[in-house]
Amino acid sequence: MATNEPKKDPRLLRLLGSTLWPSFLVAGMASGVFFASIDPEALRLETLPGVEISRMAGYTIGFFMFWLVGLASSLLTVLLLGSVGSRGR
């Protein structure tokens, strides 16, 4: 796999590693805390009572929403760090 290949595009891997991964960790924790106090079933009845969403689907949707939010934040951080680097040095 990515082992003996010549240098391909480490920048892309680095971008993925420093955004996808931390946001994944944080999303795991956030969904734990969030769903411990809020039942996805109650949330569904409050918001979309007409749509059938199981609890498992609720948890999964919640997890991916947290992940997306975290990813957005990580991407912004990468962007901002980059621009400071080019001016400051």
Binding site: N4, E5, L13, S54, G85
Partner: protein
């Protein structure tokens, strides 16, 4: 645009080696006491991981995190979302233990217990078994595709994938009863979420333990970045004894190195070859070091062969290396230890004193108070009651805090099945002359009829008309 900027910039400082294409590391297998300890730890931890979901406790799986029912079963205990505080406490205890052991003995966690290390070790065993020892693996990497290479590589990947799938399925087995899950998996009859999460977890294991390996520790692990903050001069670290080893160099066996002005290191490079993260421990403590102690075992083997004393590379402290005494008991360790003890004691007491019934009280927000008749003021509360025990129970609500206060619920006796919840309206009435103004504190007590020790208390406010 932004991308172009970024590209230009990256050319500017090429010092970032993050995620650079790397030489695949083929750690040399070594034997020794620390490697035996690691093997033991791998067997114990993975034994727990793969075995635990298969244990039964009465009618149900002993450890089952039943997300659809919002109940966590851990042997005889059942936790509810209302018990979230215990999960938080558990995480704090885990973090503090990590601090405690790091301060005492460095990165024990990384070397012996981290899932990344443990699964990597298992995947490496398979690699060693199918592709042979280090030299053979390096040769195989370079050799053109032949029948043997296809067979060896193929069987490695097949075993890895099977192991990854089994790991993913086991993971889901913590959330869905596993015996039923495996039966359905064998019939390719898994639900969408079960399929997704078992593939997801299996894929992550396969990728992290099979391919990324030490890169996870070096580039992805947050603990690796901050663990050094918990180090001090008395922390056990794995270190090369420079004083004794230098100047290093090859030599024939049987000569006295001191005569030649040499140190004990024969520069055989075995410590480097054994290192799973590919560093040279002789350059000093590095943050890539996961403290697996493979270099210690490798070096001790060589020292034995040379008939030098063992321990040129060893567990030691900075103080000891400089000839100062090391102290195990020091403020940092004592404070971590004390906090840990308090938290563990607190968690155990909390869990054993956990009430079997839970009640949340919400005041009716539409009307502050209602005058029932000329003499009586009434407030309405909405109660959410949860019977956490595994048997049906009936409860009665009491209220205190104001003179002549009474409470009405319908029905008067609240019956709840095992694990059942209900929303109840409670009307609290107080004589008008006993209450003045808003915000008088009252307390609800929900008591089980069969066992008065099973109860839950909750505070609320009673609002009355302001005095004229």
């Amino acid at each position: 645009m932004a991308q172009k900027d970024k590209q230009n910039q990256d050319k500017g400082h090429s010092s970032h080696e993050m995620y650079a294409a790397r030489e695949k590391i083929h750690p040399r297998e070594v034997k020794g006491i620390f490697q035996n300890l690691r093997i033991l730890s791998v067997i114990a931890l993975l034994g727990i991981y793969y075995g635990l979901p298969w244990l039964q406790w009465g009618e149900r799986q002993a450890v089952l995190f039943d997300l659809p029912a919002r109940q966590f079963h851990v042997f005889g205990l059942t936790f509810w979302p209302q018990d979230f505080v215990f999960l938080a406490l558990l995480l704090i205890i885990a973090a503090l233990s990590l601090f405690f052991f790091t301060a005492l003995a460095g990165r024990l966690w990384c070397g012996y217990a981290c899932p990344q290390t443990v699964w990597t070790e298992l995947f490496m065993w398979i690699e060693r078994w199918t592709e042979g020892p280090r030299q053979k693996r390096i040769k195989l990497d370079r050799s053109p595709w032949s029948r043997e290479k296809i067979l060896r590589r193929g069987s490695k990947h097949l075993l890895w994938i099977l192991l990854g799938l089994w790991t993913g399925l086991t993971f889901v087995g913590y959330f869905t009863p596993i015996s039923e899950l495996t039966t359905r998996a064998a019939a390719f009859d898994l639900g969408p979420w079960e399929t997704f999460w078992s593939l997801f977890y299996g894929f992550a294991t396969w990728g992290n333990a099979g391919f990324l390996r030490e890169q996870v520790c070096i580039y992805m692990c947050p603990y690796a970045r901050f663990q050094s903050a918990m180090f001090d001069r008395n922390t056990l670290i794995i270190s090369y004894d420079e004083e004794r080893g230098e100047p290093r160099g090859g030599r024939p066996r049987g000569i006295d190195p001191k005569e030649k002005g040499m140190g004990d290191c024969i520069d055989c490079n075995l410590c480097v070859q054994a290192c799973p993260t590919g560093i040279d421990i002789r350059q000093g403590l590095q943050y890539e070091c996961i403290a697996c102690a493979a270099c210690i075992d490798a070096c001790n083997q060589v020292m034995d062969k040379m008939e030098y004393p063992r321990g040129l590379i060893r567990y030691t402290t900075e103080n000891a290396l400089e000839g100062n005494p090391s102290r195990v008991l020091r403020p940092r360790v004592l404070i971590y230890g004390l906090l840990l003890l308090i938290l563990i004691a607190g968690a155990i007491t909390g869990i054993s004193l956990r009430s079997e019934v839970n009640m949340e009280v919400l005041a009716d927000r539409n009307v502050m108070y209602r005058e029932v008749d000329f003499h009586t003021v009434e407030n309405v509360y909405s109660l959410r009651i949860l019977n956490k025990s595994m048997e049906a129970r009936s409860f009665r609500l009491e209220v205190s805090g104001l003179d002549d206060v009474e409470v009405l619920t319908r029905p008067e006796v609240i019956q709840l099945g095992p694990g059942g919840t209900d929303n109840i309206n409670a009307r609290v009435r107080v004589p008008r002359d006993q209450v003045s103004g808003p915000g008088n504190p009252i307390e609800f007590t929900l008591v089980a009829e069969d066992d008065p020790s099973v109860q839950s208390r909750s505070r609320a406010r009673f609002h009355g008309p302001s005095p004229e």
